[in-house]
């Protein structure tokens, strides 16, 4: 039980529900993703590349493939929430 986080939400990922929670650690906004299968939880942040383009990445780096797919789903969730 994590007490001081915002309320977690669920997104659909390839037919599986993922539980996502948003956190603010210092100045940084990050997302924790919990899987239903045995995969390790994933921490995602939005970073900026040398061309000043934003992209989703994992912390620690190394799960870029998942970050590139799941990150936009989180962004989509927030866009829909605003509507």
């Amino acid at each position: 039980m994590v007490i001081d986080e915002l309320k977690p939400f669920t997104i659909d990922f390839q037919g599986q529900p993922l539980t996502v929670s948003e956190h603010y650690i210092g100045e940084e906004r990050l997302f924790r993703v919990l899987f239903e299968d045995k995969r390790k939880p994933l921490t995602l942040v939005v970073a900026m590349n040398s061309q000043k383009q934003k992209f989703w990445t994992s912390v620690p780096q190394g799960r870029q493939e998942e970050a590139a797919i799941i990150g936009p789903l989180i962004a989509w969730f927030y866009k829909n929430k605003k509507k």
């Binding site: 210092g26 940084e28 990050l30 939880p41 921490t43 994992s58």
Partner: protein, 275 residues
């Protein structure tokens, strides 16, 4: 300061905070006789939920980190330099130099927690004696386990910060607990360099106020200064292997002078009694 703390609950069926209770058997981490603060290992803390209607026992790393740190190596380096396992209640807003303290952010944002304790280990330092009976300049440390009379566990006021472990991607709680001026007993036991400090130990009412209410920063400082009377404490000397075994086993040191217990016969004058 106070760097060794026990968290071993064996008798109490419930961990209680006023009318709230948690079943002890549900937590598999309340079994450590002595935590070593220098190891940056997980220890039990109580944290309130967002609307302060309930609390939960979670694992946090003993050693407050003010910001996320890149690697475990860097964390150890930080803790070696800054030893943030405790905070002085006097320094919750300003440090000794008069600058804004590292703790102020946690205090102002209400990031309070309660640190569970079942025994505090402190070393009493006595000068060694030479072959001719003369006092040497070096000291020998004698460890004591200090517990509270008629209480299996108690709470110490803590401050926490949640940081990102960038090596694992985990979010971790890091925490420290408050120290205050030592009472008559702890002045004798925790006597190194005449710093005379001890952990603040809270009664149930103050623990509740620290964690479950939105007390003002000034009130939080008042609570963090709380001194427990000497006569409410129980002590014994323990073996010097308490860190290796993480267990506090009683031991006798025949040449060690007894503690002056005259505080039992008088009304102890405390600067910051529970209020």
């Amino acid at each position: 300061m106070c760097y060794y703390n026990g968290q071993k609950v064996t008798r109490a069926e419930f961990i209680r905070l006023k009318n709230l209770e948690k079943e002890t058997r549900k937590y598999d981490f309340l079994n450590v006789g002595v935590h070593n603060g220098f190891m940056f290992q997980p220890s039990a803390i109580a944290i309130a939920n967002a609307d302060k209607t309930d609390f939960e026992l979670v694992l946090g790393h003993w050693g407050y980190l003010p910001y996320s740190i890149k690697s475990h190596e860097e964390i150890k380096k930080f803790l070696r330099i800054y030893t943030t396992m405790n905070f002085k209640s006097e320094n919750m807003f300003l440090n000794d130099k008069g600058d804004k303290s590292m703790w102020a952010d946690a205090v102002n944002k209400g990031r309070t927690c309660l640190v569970l304790s079942t025994g505090m280990v402190e070393n009493r330092h006595e000068f060694k004696v030479g072959k001719n009976g003369q006092q040497l300049s070096t000291t020998e440390a004698f460890p004591y386990m200090v517990t509270m009379k008629d209480r299996e566990y108690w709470w110490m006021p803590g401050l926490y910060n949640q940081v990102l472990d960038k090596e694992t991607g985990e979010l971790v709680y890091t925490f420290a607990f408050a120290t205050t001026q030592a009472n008559a007993l702890m002045r004798q036991i925790h006597n190194k360099d005449n710093k005379w400090r001890m952990p603040a130990v809270l009664n149930d009412e103050l623990a509740w106020e620290w964690l479950m209410t939105n007390a003002t920063p000034e009130r939080l400082q008042q609570i963090a200064r709380t001194q427990v009377p000497s006569k409410d404490m129980v002590y014994c000397t323990i073996t010097k292997e308490y860190l290796a075994h993480r267990v506090a086993n009683p031991a006798e040191y025949p040449n060690l002078a007894a503690i002056d217990m005259s505080y039992m016969d008088i009304e102890e004058a405390l600067l910051y009694p529970a209020a």
